[in-house]
């Protein structure tokens, strides 16, 4: 998941060390631009397009990873 973490750190404009499964997205300004950026990131890293509404409902980084795992399963 390191490419995902690096990408999320870039989107949230924070150091990669701050991205962990338990990290709360609300703390990183989880707005529509961040959601769109994450959707594009997951497409680039994992080759899957997430559902925007499902992604918007994610609360932690682990939730995003679970959504990706579900889509790539």
């Amino acid at each position: 998941m390191s490419a995902l973490y690096a990408g999320l750190a870039e989107i949230f404009e924070v150091d990669e060390s701050e991205i962990s499964p338990a990290a709360e997205l609300a703390a990183f300004n989880w707005d529509s631009l961040a959601i769109i950026s994450t959707l594009a990131l997951v497409d680039e890293v994992h080759g899957v397009l997430l559902d925007g509404q499902a992604l918007a409902k994610c609360e932690t980084v682990a939730d995003i990873e679970a959504l990706v795992a579900k889509e790539t399963a």
Binding site: S32, L33, I35, S37, L39, E44, L49, D51, G52
Partner: protein, 326 residues
């Protein structure tokens, strides 16, 4: 053989400007620099009160006729692509025929498409010309989306600008087609992702509620999913390769989405046109406005022809792709 070709393009923009500084003042959580970085847009042109898409369309058409030294009597078909018409009826293209002094023998029609509209219009013009029904088609794209935006909706106000473009498509003799067969796509299930709900007859407007709503993540997913497939479909339909295309002019939705598409399709930056910094997303006019400076100036010596791939995608959901010689 008789083939249609893009002869010339002229744009017309309203005088009003919406800068990133003005947006940052209204939406303090985004700085002007961040808006530029994320959208690739420095300013948008905004129509004045009482200035409509038809006014912008007339401006673009007049600029084109003047640039080409063309007599309006030589135009035998007018296509107007707009989603912000002056009236429910009559047809805007009919009013534009009169304003421009086109012959009464000319055909004229409107078609309602957004960001895919220019490529659809090219296909219609090609069909009219190559079937022998018209010789010179004036294809005008014009919209004033600013009049549909919620002043408090940052996600759309940072992107959309008003504008128009007029494109002359004419019949010429050539060894091979100069506009290849166009490929299309439609998915009305995504209609609600970009929608002005009120103001039609299903949900009449109660005044002041004709507002564009955009589901940004859904539109992003649509774009990243369908545009690469449309490109593949075009290559299969035409038997051409990516390498044969000197230029790629996609709908200028915003800088972020374009850069993602460019990377996904592995297109070299120098071939991938991004030209929206001073105008924003002008809906059906983004492709002709970006294409205009790439066409050879009237009267200039003709250099080697270049092949461009044009891809429009957006509201509908609707998309279309074309391979053209410019």
């Amino acid at each position: 053989m008789l083939t249609a070709r893009i002869k010339a393009i002229a744009g017309h923009l309203p005088e009003g400007r919406l800068t990133n500084d003005a947006l940052a003042a209204r939406f303090p959580d985004w700085s002007a620099d961040k808006i530029l970085e994320k959208t690739g847009i420095a300013e948008r042109r905004i129509a004045a009160d009482g200035e409509t898409a038809l006014d912008l369309a007339e401006g673009a058409a007049r600029a084109l006729l003047a640039k080409e030294g063309l007599d309006p009597a030589e135009i035998d078909f007018l296509l107007l692509c707009t989603q912000t018409p002056d009236y429910v009826l009559p047809t805007g293209a009919c009013l534009l025929q009169a304003r421009l002094g086109l012959p009464t023998s000319a055909g004229a029609l409107d078609f309602n498409l957004g960001c895919s509209g220019f490529v659809y219009g090219l296909s219609l013009a090609k069909a009219l010309i190559e079937s022998g029904q018209a010789k010179r088609v004036l294809l005008v794209t014009a919209d004033t989306y600013s009049k549909l935006l919620d002043p408090d909706d940052q996600s759309v106000r940072t992107l959309f600008g008003d504008g128009a473009a007029a494109t002359l498509v004419e019949a010429v003799e050539a060894d091979a087609p100069l506009i290849d067969p166009v490929v299309f796509g439609t998915d009305g299930k995504g209609g609600e992702h970009l929608m002005v709900r009120r103001g039609g007859f299903r949900e009449p407007s109660a005044g002041g509620d004709m507002v564009l709503r955009m589901d940004g993540p859904a539109v992003m997913a649509f774009t990243l999913g369908h545009v690469p497939k449309a490109v593949d479909g075009l290559l299969q339909r035409t038997g051409r390769t990516m390498e044969e295309h000197d230029l790629f002019v996609f709908h200028q939705a915003n800088g972020f989405i374009l850069e993602r598409l460019r990377r996904k399709l592995a297109i070299a930056p120098e071939r991938f046109v991004i030209d929206m910094r001073e105008v924003g997303n002008t809906v059906s006019s983004t492709i002709p406005l970006a294409l205009a400076p790439l066409l050879q100036a009237a009267g200039a010596p003709r250099g080697a022809p270049r092949r461009a791939m044009l891809v429009g995608f957006g509201v509908g959901l609707s998309w279309a792709a074309a391979s053209v010689v410019i």
